[in-house]
Amino acid sequence: MKKLTIPEEEHMLSGHTACLGCGATIAMRYVLKALGKNTILSIPACCWAVIPGVYPHRTLDVPLLYTAFEVTGAAISGIREALDAMGKEDVNVVGFAGDGGTADIGLQALSAAMERGHNVFYIMYDNEAYMNTGIQRSGSTPMGAWTTTTPGGKKRMYKWEPKKSVAEIMVAHHIPYVATATIAYPEDMIAKLKRAKEIKGPKFFQILSPCPTGWRHAPDKTVEISRLAVQTNVFPLYEVIDGKYKISIKPKNPKPVKEYLRLQGRFRHLTEEEIEKIQRHVDENWKALLKKERCSQEEE
């Protein structure tokens, strides 16, 4: 019999204000299950600044510092140093920020915090656009997507640029732990969080978190889409420990990217050639990742 590895403890209470089927909400629930009660959260402006509820309500039973949009890296540094100064080295400090607050406006503070090496978690829940302000393009929006600032129109002005690889930017900071995860694979996510918890220093997670509202899919497809992202190699799951890559899941027969795209209204407009182009982009990224895994493990 296989043992369930998802902790029963619960730090997300009922009454959150997220949309139906919100992937980011599921991501938080698992993160807190893995890290436990002895955790302080720092959350900038993003959907998650609203999801805990309106004052005085709060769906989370861990201490929570709301902050300005771009400061998560600095805020977790401040919390960590204050805790250490008070001798509370056992408390987990977790920045939980959206892709906009991470890849774009908060990248500077994040980069500096990682480089300085504070003992913190930074968790980027990646819903691939600025959702809180109503679905605008971020640097983490994938190639081909519709958003309200890449609305298509007569000129087919969609988001044609490739998605910024924040996890790779973090690897370039030589931090001890970088991982990707997604909500369809909770046991993988929790195992990674628990591994990371044992490591002293900066730990970065990018968690793909489907957003029915922004991705234009049915709320009951959240988990399916998250799983397809991995099975099509659109969002590979891997971890990089001390610079060594380890791919968590290698789909034997990757599904065509089209299967992932067709479930989401944000890709509805794509032509066959455009889908082909995205497929090629995904294939190249996957090959590059396999190479990184091979090269980084080689010296062993």
Partner: protein
């Protein structure tokens, strides 16, 4: 202990003696030697604090906010562009009621680039909810940091404080400074006792979303009350400080020969010492002039300003910044608190921007202009720019 210290070294000593546990800072001329001095205190084991070498001033303030909210005393320092970059998080710090103390070395804002003294940087933050104290010499720089922690941390105040010094005139100029004993400062400020903190044992959220009918407005009102209340605490703490450390600060306004003055000049910062010198020499010639150097701009000492206006026939307000509204900031606020209380003329003298020298000769001419207005009973104009290139009247 007597030491020879620059203004910036005095600030670093003020911070050291106050024992902040976390410092987050980013360099900018003319603040840099404050954070360098602190770095060497820490590196030599003379100061027990965590030093976060952030990548920007925005992050410096954000890190101080987070650290202070976690339950420790914090300190930072900046100038001009650094302060402007902090704007968003300055308002966060005060709204979150975190008694952070920060040194600000007044410097001009570009363009064109200028690193010299000018008060636009701090004046532009007058509505950020921070207490602002302007200093006149290095002793006052050091002492004000200690007093500021004590005032700001009172649970009926909980407002962050800027301790402000003029660029170069103080920041890089050495003077004899009496550095108080650590033990005496410890006894004076006491251990930091946060009113609230991030604590897994007692989970709470800080800064969450609030609806228009929620207590947002009440939170702001409480800040306004705290800023008023700060006047009482400032008075108490300054008196206690004077007694403990053998000093002689007036809480809000340092008055100099104002008793029977026909005209009183209002100033901030180091202009005060030049003006006092000019007053001495003019008094010896029989001119009845005086100086009022405001120490606090926030909270604004309205009562003290009104009381001064009762004693004289004219007020000349010197501003080292301009606000493109009804004159510069100290002038606008002075006039506004005097309205309905007096009819005496008040005139604004804008000078010294971008570090242009404010000499005794210039101030003498300004005093003579003020005396003329005092006699006439009306000001010839509201705002006068003093010392512009090619304008021979004031040099």
């Amino acid at each position: 202990m007597k030491m020879i210290l620059t203004g910036n070294e005095s600030a670093a000593w003020g911070a050291r003696l106050s024992r902040p546990k976390v410092i987050a800072a980013y360099p900018i001329t003319p603040q840099t030697s404050i954070i360098e001095t602190i770095a060497s205190f820490i590196a030599n084991g003379e100061m027990d604090a965590r030093y976060i070498r952030v990548e920007s001033e925005h992050s410096a303030m954000a890190a101080c906010i987070a650290a202070q909210n976690t339950g420790v005393r914090t300190y930072t320092a900046t100038s001009a562009h650094g302060l402007a970059l902090m704007h968003e998080v300055l308002i966060w710090a005060s709204g979150a009621r975190l008694p952070i103390v920060m040194s600000v070395v007044n410097r001009a804002m570009a363009p064109p680039w200028s690193v010299w003294t000018d008060q636009l940087d701090t004046m532009a933050e007058r509505d950020s909810g921070w207490i602002q104290v302007y200093t006149q010499n290095n002793q006052e720089v050091l002492d004000s940091i200690i007093m500021s922690y004590k005032i700001a941390e009172k649970h009926n105040i909980l407002l962050p404080t800027m301790v402000i010094e003029d660029a170069f005139i103080l920041s890089h100029t050495s003077e004899g400074v009496d550095v108080p004993e650590q033990k005496k400062v410890d006894d004076f400020i006491g251990e930091y006792n946060p009113a609230f903190k991030l604590d897994p044992e007692e989970p709470a959220g800080f800064g969450s979303l609030i609806m228009p009918e929620g207590p947002y407005m009440e939170f702001r009102y409480k800040m306004a009350l705290a800023m008023e209340e700060a006047k009482k605490e400032i008075k108490k703490v300054v008196e206690e400080f004077n007694e403990t450390f053998n000093r002689n600060y007036s809480p809000f306004i340092e008055e100099y020969r104002t008793e029977d003055a026909d005209a009183i000049m209002f100033v901030l910062g180091t202009i005060g010492s030049t003006a006092k010198d000019v007053v001495d020499s003019m008094r010896s010639e029989g001119y009845k002039v005086g100086v009022a150097r405001l120490r606090y701009f926030r909270p604004f000492p309205a009562e003290e300003v009104r009381r001064l206006a009762k004693k004289t026939n004219m007020i000349g307000v010197v501003d080292r910044s301009y606000s493109f509204g009804p004159g510069a900031d100290l002038f606008a606020e002075t006039k506004s608190v005097l309205y309905n209380h007096t009819d005496i003329p008040v005139k604004n003298y804008v000078m010294g921007l971008g570090g242009r020298d404010i000499t005794p000769a210039i101030l003498r001419k300004v005093f003579l202009d003020m005396l003329h207005i005092a006699k006439e009973g009306v000001a010839d104009k509201e705002i006068e720019w003093v010392g512009l290139q090619g304008d021979e009247r004031w040099s």
